[in-house]
């Protein structure tokens, strides 16, 4: 029902009878369990014959791993079909009735596969007692039997050319599992409609290409994803923004990546570390005029480090074209980053640049065990 779960309380009782004004209470639901997406029916009803109350519960159940793992033993051709009739029982959408497997299907599955389980010390699932299922009645279809339409393999399997199924992840794993080795044929990414990393031949789904998350060792899956103009830079999500907006303190990429990694410490030959800002993707030094210790603290925190331990002004010998200087009212700029407080295009009267040493936050320490007199 719309306002409450229809499970046990409804069943076949009149509670959800349309006449009493409740809107439709069809208990059929579309099958979403991936394992059983290739059945000759596509609606199911819970609880199922294993006592699971939802498809999610069924998907993490022991049986949903057990039966597919049994299929490659070829103990019974329709084992997967039987497994699905009890994991996601067919629901007749016109009557909302659950249609069970026929007793014969259950008995054939159990007779031929129970012994295989026994070999590895496992038991046939207790609550798949076949006597609970009806005998096949040819004139009215009250139970399910496989017909020629039924797939032997589930979507989680690969169908061998010689017949039989192997688990999908065994495809192209370098070990032949099918009798005819067909699971190791046509293993190129292109044949499997996948994308190939040039560096290590790894195959990737097309959905992960250019999605902002590198998957190839050399990040090639995130290259050539957009065609920015010469005066533009590419965001992590492959949008293009003007170079002038890069690290200006204002977010312009929708994923904010134009404001990432803007502030770094660059080592000099005399081992001091200069504070540098990548304004417009060009490295700038910071003029020391008006600098305060609180700004050193903000810079260290912004780089994920601890408190500043040393702040120095280093004279600049060379003629620098591009200084960044503190804007005049920087104290009034709230909720900010260090580089938002800096403006380009100004001279630096003192010609001193900022050098900074930040501490590293301590971590991973356990208190020493206390000494207790006994």
């Amino acid at each position: 029902c719309l306002y409450s779960s229809c499970l046990d309380s409804c069943g076949d009782s009149s509670l959800c009878d349309p006449d009493n004004g409740l809107s439709n209470c069809s208990q059929c639901e579309p099958i979403t369990l991936e394992l059983c997406m290739n059945l000759p029916y596509n609606h199911t009803k819970y609880p199922n014959y294993l006592g699971h109350r939802t498809q999610k519960e069924a998907s993490i159940s022991w049986e949903s791993s057990l039966f597919p793992a049994l299929v490659p033993t070829n103990c019974y051709k329709y084992l997967m079909f039987f497994a699905c009739t009890i994991l996601v029982p067919k629901c007749d959408v016109t009557t909302s009735q659950r249609i069970p497997p026929c007793r014969a299907l259950c008995e054939h599955s159990k007779e031929r596969c129970e012994s295989v389980l026994g070999i590895v010390g496992l038991q046939w699932p207790e609550d798949t007692d076949c006597s609970q299922f009806p005998e096949e009645n040819l004139d009215n279809k009250t139970c399910l039997m496989p017909d020629e339409e039924v797939e032997e393999c589930s979507p989680s399997h690969f169908k061998c050319h010689s017949g039989g199924c192997v688990l999908a992840f065994r495809r192209c794993d370098g070990q032949a599992d099918c009798d005819d080795d067909s699971d190791e044929e046509n293993c190129g990414c292109k044949e499997r409609d996948l994308w190939e990393c040039p560096s290590n031949k790894q195959c990737l789904k097309h959905t992960v290409i250019c999605d902002g998350f590198p998957d190839c060792p050399d990040n090639m899956d995130e290259k050539n994803c957009s065609f920015c103009q010469d005066d533009e830079l590419e965001c992590a999500n492959h949008e293009c923004v003007s170079r002038d907006l890069w690290c200006d303190g204002e977010v312009d990429c929708s994923d904010s990546s134009d404001e990432w990694d803007c502030v770094t410490l660059s080592k000099t030959v005399d081992s001091s570390s200069l504070l540098s800002v990548h304004r417009s993707a060009t490295e700038h030094y910071v003029c020391a005029d008006g600098w305060q210790e609180t700004l050193s603290q903000l810079a260290c925190w912004q780089m994920g480090l601890g408190e500043p331990s040393v702040t120095e002004s280093i004279p600049e010998e060379e003629e620098i074209q591009q200084w960044l200087r503190l804007r005049s009212n920087w104290e009034n700029v709230s909720g900010t980053t260090v580089h938002k407080l800096l403006v380009p295009g100004q001279s630096c009267p003192s010609r001193n640049k900022i050098s900074l040493l930040c501490t590293k936050e301590d971590c991973g320490r356990r208190p020493a065990a206390r000494m207790n007199k006994r």
């Binding site: 989680s156 992840f169 998350f213 404001e259 980053t337 936050e361 991973g364 208190p367």
Partner: protein, 240 residues
Amino acid sequence: ILGGRTSRPGRWPWQCSLQSEPSGHICGCVLIAKKWVLTVAHCFEGRENAAVWKVVFGVNNLDHPSVYMQTRLVKTIVLHPRYSRAVVDYDISIVELSEDISETSYVQPICLPRPGQSLEPDTYCYITGWGHMGNKMPFKLQEGEVRIISLEQCQSYFDMKTITTRMICAGYESGTVDSCMGDSGGPLVCEQPGGQWTLFGLTSWGSICFSKVLGPGVYSNVSYFIGWIEKQIYIQSFLL
């Protein structure tokens, strides 16, 4: 934790308990900075509203508040955008606390590994948590020593699942020490030369831990996500 032992108070000062009413403890979590905690994304399935969560630090017995206990509300929950509920991949989440914790000897952040830093198979590390012990749910924090297993060997235990480079496997083939329900989000930590402990994994999934057929535990590989973790802390702290 299966096959573990009760921890001494204060032995794992980065361990926290992610709680939501009315059930209380739901998942483990790990303190990585004064205002930031790591856990796994699947703990928030169906409950992604930060307002229903709180985080408890500095506690050993969940049933006995201690003078060292600190409780914080949750300000922000960030799930990894690629988290896949179906295959439990990219199972990681970072949580911003409503305010800083105060660092004491009972509440300390763990170190994070370098990006991509890997663990050699057969390295011994520790898992901790208040999860199922096989016969009961404990009140006292449990700890267990586990051995890192190669991904290839791990894949051989899980036919129906794919073990990816976002995962680390640990445990014994015989499956004596293992994480279990309620340990999710808790730490897999290894001691580094010099005595500092580093977080390499977050308890994520595994076989049905109290069934006869056991396999290793599977943990989110924290070193794979260092760039993402740092980015999220930076964005939440400086750009929003």
